[in-house]
C-alpha cells in the first residue's frame, strides 16, 4: 500500500532560524503517528506546511504517492487533510451547529448538516447536542466540536495538535477510543503531544524532531518515556531532587472561605475556597480548565480584591484587602497562566518586564524613577540561572519562544525569593528539559521554606511535584490531602465534579 503522506527533505527557513532542516518521514494509511519534540523543534511549522498554512522552501510532500503543493488550508481539506488545533476557534455565543456551519467550505443546508453531524457523532460515540450554546460546554465537549468539524470532511489524515492538554483522564480515554476507531477505518492520524505516556499508549510510530532536524523515527511501545524525552532534548534528563522525609513548618498561607464575584460573562468564580499551605509545602490544585482556576489565581495575586481582609493570610497577617503591589511586599508572588500579555508584555524588553513585578521587592525604584541598571542586572541573572535562550536583557519578551518566556517568568518570580508563590500552569507547552528545570526551581524554593501553590491541569506534573493535592471543580475546592493518598481514578472523578463524602468545602449558608 502506498504511504498516505510522505515528506522528503522538507526545509523551511525563517529569518534567523532554520525551522525545518531536511525532514523526511512517512505516514501509512491507518497509522497513528506521533510527532514529538521540544518547543521550537519545528513541529508546528511542519504541520502548518502539511495543512497548507505555509509553504516549504525545499522538499517534497507526496499525498497518496502523488507529489502535491498544498497552497492553503482549503486545498488541504480538499485533499482530505483535517486538523484539530490546540486552541479552538469557536464562537461562545453560538450553538454547536452554527459553529460547525460557519467552518464549512461548502454551503450545506442546516437540516442536512445536522443529520450528517448526528451521523458522525453516532459512528464515533461523540455525544454532543448540536443545539447547545458553546459557552455552556466543557473544554472536552468543545474539542469534540472541532473533531466533528474535521470528521465531516471524511479526512484521510487527521492532524491533532496537543489535544489532551485540557482534558480529564476520562475524557482522554474517550478521545483515544475515537482515534483508534478512526485509525482502524484507515484514517491516518498525526498526533502532536508532549505527554510521552499517552504516545506510548496510543501511537504506532513516533517521529522525534530536535532543533528542526529529524532525530529518530521509532516505535514508542519499544521505548520508555525517559528514552524518548532524552532523544527530544538531546541530553540525559534530570529527576526532581527532593529531600526525603521533609517536614513542614507552621502554616504560611491560609485561605479561609475565599469567594470572588462573577467577573466576565463566561468566567467561573471562586466559591468559598479554604486551604492551608505550610512553609516548605507544595500544594497542587488539579482541575479541568475553566473551573475557576483563573479567578483563584487573580484572587490570590491581588488582581481581584475581595472584601474580607482575613480571607487570605500570610503568617497570620490578613492580606485580603491589599493590592498586587502590597501583596508582593508581603512576600506573595504569582505567575498567571497566560504568559504573553498577562505575565509579561510582549513588546517590552525582558529588562522592562522585570520592572513589572520585581521593582519594589528588589529596590528598582528610587523616588519614582526606575533604576534601569538594577533591572538589567537582575534580568541577566534570571537569563543565566534559568538558561533562557535570549540574546540578552534587551530582547523583547515577544521574541522568545513560549517555553523560554515561561522560563524567564518563572525565574523572575522565584529569584525574588517570595515566601509564598502561586503559579498557574508552570510548564504548559514547555518542553521536557525546561519543565524539569522549572520543577526543580519550585522544589528548591519550597526547601528554602516558601509555601507554594501550583495550579495545573497536568496530573503527572502535580503528582511528581506536590506534597498535597486538592481538586477544583466549578469554583469549589475539594479537601487537600497528601498526594500519595490519591489515585488517578479518584482525581479524575473529582475533576469531573463527583465529590466524595469527605468534601470540605460545603459551607453553611451565611
Amino acid at each position: 500500500m502506498p504511504n498516505r503522506l510522505e515528506l522528503t527533505g522538507i526545509t523551511k527557513q525563517f529569518p534567523g532560524v532554520l525551522a525545518n532542516d531536511h525532514v523526511s518521514f512517512a505516514v501509512k494509511p491507518g497509522e497513528i503517528h506521533a510527532l514529538l519534540g521540544e518547543n521550537g523543534a519545528g513541529k508546528s511549522t511542519l504541520v502548518k506546511m502539511i495543512y497548507g498554512i505555509m509553504q516549504p522552501d525545499a522538499g517534497e510532500i507526496r499525498w497518496n504517492d502523488e507529489p502535491v503543493m498544498v497552497a492553503n488550508p482549503k486545498a488541504a481539506r480538499k485533499l482530505g487533510i483535517g486538523m484539530v488545533f490546540q486552541h479552538f476557534s469557536l464562537f461562545e455565543a453560538l450553538t454547536v451547529l452554527e459553529n460547525i456551519a460557519l467552518g464549512m467550505d461548502a454551503k450545506i443546508p442546516s437540516r442536512e448538516l445536522e443529520s450528517r453531524i448526528r451521523g458522525v457523532m453516532e459512528t464515533y460515540g461523540l455525544a454532543l447536542d448540536p443545539h447547545r450554546t458553546v459557552a455552556t460546554l466543557s473544554v472536552g465537549e468543545r474539542q469534540r466540536i472541532e473533531i466533528v468539524r474535521a470528521l465531516l470532511l471524511n479526512p484521510q489524515l487527521l492532524i491533532m495538535d496537543e489535544p489532551t492538554s485540557v482534558l480529564t483522564p476520562q475524557e482522554v480515554d474517550q478521545l483515544f477510543t475515537v482515534l483508534r476507531k478512526l485509525a482502524a477505518e484507515g484514517c491516518s492520524i498525526l498526533y502532536i503531544s508532549h505527554k510521552l505516556h499517552e504516545i506510548k499508549a496510543l501511537c504506532d510510530t513516533a517521529t522525534i524532531l530536535r532543533a528542526g532536524k529529524l532525530v529518530d523515527t521509532c516505535d514508542p511501545r519499544q521505548e520508555t518515556s525517559r528514552s524518548m524525552a532524552e532523544k527530544m532534548i538531546g541530553t540525559g534528563l534530570k529527576d526532581i531532587v527532593k529531600a526525603a522525609g521533609r517536614t513542614f513548618g507552621p502554616p504560611k498561607l491560609v485561605v479561609n472561605r475565599l469567594s470572588t464575584g462573577k467577573t466576565g460573562h463566561f468566567d467561573v468564580p471562586v466559591d468559598n475556597v479554604s486551604f492551608t499551605v505550610r512553609a516548605g509545602e507544595i500544594l497542587g490544585i488539579a482541575g479541568v480548565a475553566g473551573n475557576g482556576q483563573n479567578a483563584l489565581l487573580d484572587a490570590l495575586s491581588g488582581e481581584l480584591i475581595g472584601d474580607d481582609s482575613e480571607a487570605i493570610t500570610i503568617d497570620g497577617l490578613g492580606i485580603g484587602l491589599l493590592n498586587t503591589t502590597e501583596r508582593r511586599r508581603q512576600g506573595l508572588c504569582a505567575v498567571p497562566e497566560e504568559r504573553n500579555g498577562h505575565a509579561a508584555v510582549g513588546d517590552f524588553t525582558l529588562s522592562d518586564n522585570s520592572v513589572l513585578t520585581a521593582r519594589d521587592r528588589l529596590g528598582m525604584v528610587m523616588m519614582g524613577l526606575i533604576n534601569s541598571g538594577a533591572a538589567k542586572t537582575y534580568t541577566g541573572r534570571v537569563i543565566a540561572d534559568f538558561a533562557v535562550k535570549a540574546l540578552g536583557p534587551a530582547s523583547t519578551a515577544g521574541s522568545l519562544s513560549g517555553g523560554n518566556l515561561q522560563k524567564y517568568i518563572m525565574g523572575r518570580e522565584t529569584l525574588q525569593k517570595p515566601s509564598v508563590l502561586v503559579v498557574s500552569q508552570p510548564t504548559w507547552g514547555v518542553d521536557a528539559g525546561a519543565a524539569a528545570a522549572i520543577h526543580q526551581a519550585l522544589v528548591d524554593l519550597s526547601m528554602a521554606g516558601s509555601a507554594i501553590v501550583v495550579i495545573s491541569q497536568d496530573l503527572d506534573e502535580l503528582r511528581a511535584l506536590c506534597d498535597t493535592l486538592a481538586v477544583i471543580n466549578m469554583g469549589r475546592l475539594s479537601e487537600a490531602r497528601p498526594v500519595k493518598e490519591f489515585n488517578v481514578e479518584e482525581i479524575g472523578l473529582l475533576m469531573g465534579g463527583v465529590h466524595g463524602a469527605t468534601e470540605g468545602t460545603d459551607a453553611i449558608p451565611a
Binding site: P15, V68, V70, A75, L79, S301, T324, L356, S395
Partner: protein, 360 residues
C-alpha cells in the same frame, strides 16, 4: 513579481524612525500631484508650504509661536495615547485653559505684580485638568467612551467662549465687539527676543517636551503609561490600576492642553476673542502620532506641523491656494504615517510566483 508582508521577529526600530520622514516626503510628492491635477502649480504649492517657512528667516518667529502650543498639547496627548486613553478633546481643554487664564487676567485687571502671570498659568492648567476630568469621571464610573465625551465637550467649550465674551466678560470699551478687554501688562506673556513676537511659551514648550521625555523613559509614571497601553492585563498584574491610569492620563493631557491655552491667550492674543479656538487641539493629535508618541519626536513633529500652518498662509497669498489646502496636507501626512506603520511589525518580501495547487 509579487510582494508579500511577512511578520518580523522584532519590531523594526529603523522603520519606526523612518516612517514619519517617509510620510512627510510622500505627502509632498502626492500633494504636488494632486494640486497639479486640479489646476494649481503643485510643485510651487509644496515649495511654499514646506520650504518657504524654513528658508525665509522672517517666518521663523511664526514657526516658533505656532509650534509651541502644538508641542505642549501634543506632548500631553502622546502620554495619554501611550496608555490607550484616547483624549480627542484637547481643543476643549485648551479653550478652558485659555478661559481660566482670562478669568484671572480680568479679575486682576489693572493690578501689577510678578504673581499675576504664574497665577494665570496655574489657573489655565487647572482649567484644562478640570475639563478633562469630566470624560475621566464618566469613563471610570460609568464606562462611557472618552473619545465621544471629550470630543463633544470641545463644542460646549466653544459655546462658553461665545457666551462669556458677549455678556459678562465683554469689553466695556469694545464698541460692541464680542471680545474681552486687552489684558493689563502684568497679564501678558513677555517676548523673549526683542523686536519679535517670540514669547515665553516657545522655550516653555521645549522644556515641557524634554521633561516629559525624561519622565516617560525613566519614571514609574512613564512605565505605568506604557505598560497599560501595551498590555492592560499585564499592567493589572504588575499593580497598576486601570482607573487610576485613566485619571492620570486625562489630567496630564488636559493640564498640558490648558497650559497651551493660557499661554496662547496671554501671548499672541492678549485678550479672549471668538477666534481663539484655532484647532491646535486637533492638529496636536497628528503631532502626537507623527512624533511616535515620544515627546522628543513630538517636538520635531510640532515644528513640521507648524511649517504647514505657516506655509499654508504663504501659499494662500502667493499662489491662491485655498485655506483648506493646509488641512489636506496635514491629513495626508497622518494617513501616510498610519499606513506606513505596518512596516514596523512587518517586512515586505518579494516572492517568486508559485504554481497553483496541484490537487492530486
Amino acid at each position: 513579481m509579487q510582494f508579500r508582508l511577512e511578520k518580523r521577529r522584532e519590531p523594526s526600530r529603523l522603520m519606526s524612525y523612518a516612517t514619519p520622514f517617509a510620510a512627510v516626503l510622500l505627502t509632498m510628492v502626492l500633494g504636488a500631484v494632486v494640486f497639479s491635477l486640479i489646476g494649481y502649480n503643485g510643485i510651487g504649492a509644496v515649495r511654499e508650504i514646506f520650504l518657504t517657512p524654513l528658508t525665509n528667516p522672517y517666518k521663523w518667529q511664526d514657526l516658533g509661536i505656532k509650534a509651541a502650543p502644538l508641542i505642549i498639547i501634543g506632548t500631553g496627548l502622546s502620554i495619554a495615547y501611550r496608555a490607550n486613553v484616547w483624549n480627542i478633546g484637547a481643543e476643549g481643554q485648551y479653550v478652558m485653559g485659555g478661559l481660566a487664564g482670562t478669568g484671572i487676567a480680568l479679575l486682576t485687571y489693572g493690578m501689577t505684580g510678578w504673581w499675576v502671570l504664574p497665577l494665570m498659568v496655574l489657573a489655565g492648567i487647572l482649567g484644562g485638568m478640570a475639563y478633562a476630568a469630566i470624560p475621566a469621571f464618566l469613563r471610570t464610573k460609568l464606562n462611557v467612551n472618552e473619545i465621544l465625551t471629550s470630543l463633544m465637550l470641545t463644542y460646549a467649550s466653544v459655546q462658553l467662549i461665545y457666551y462669556l465674551i458677549r455678556a459678562p466678560w465683554k469689553d466695556p470699551m469694545g464698541m460692541g465687539f464680542p471680545q474681552t478687554r486687552l489684558f493689563s501688562e502684568a497679564a501678558r506673556l513677555p517676548t523673549i527676543i526683542p523686536g519679535t513676537i517670540v514669547h515665553l511659551g516657545v522655550p516653555i514648550a521645549i522644556i515641557v517636551g524634554l521633561i516629559a521625555w525624561f519622565i516617560m523613559t525613566r519614571s514609574v509614571f512613564g512605565y505605568r503609561m506604557r505598560v497599560v497601553g501595551a498590555a492592560p492585563h499585564a499592567a493589572r498584574y504588575g499593580g497598576f490600576s486601570e482607573n487610576k491610569t485613566i485619571w492620570l492620563a486625562m489630567l496630564v493631557s488636559g493640564g498640558l492642553a490648558g497650559l497651551a491655552g493660557v499661554l496662547e491667550v496671554a501671548g499672541p492674543f492678549q485678550r479672549m476673542v471668538p477666534g481663539f479656538p484655532t484647532n491646535y487641539g486637533f492638529t496636536a493629535i497628528i503631532v502626537a502620532f507623527l512624533g511616535r508618541l515620544n515627546p522628543l519626536g513630538v517636538i520635531l513633529a510640532g515644528i513640521v506641523l507648524a511649517i504647514t500652518f505657516v506655509g499654508g498662509e504663504v501659499a494662500q497669498t502667493t499662489i491662491g491656494l485655498p485655506n483648506a489646502a493646509t488641512g489636506i496636507f496635514q491629513a495626508m501626512m497622518l494617513f501616510f504615517l498610519l499606513a506606513g506603520d505596518i512596516l514596523i511589525k512587518y517586512r515586505l518580501r518579494r516572492v517568486s510566483p508559485q504554481p497553483s495547487v496541484g490537487a492530486a
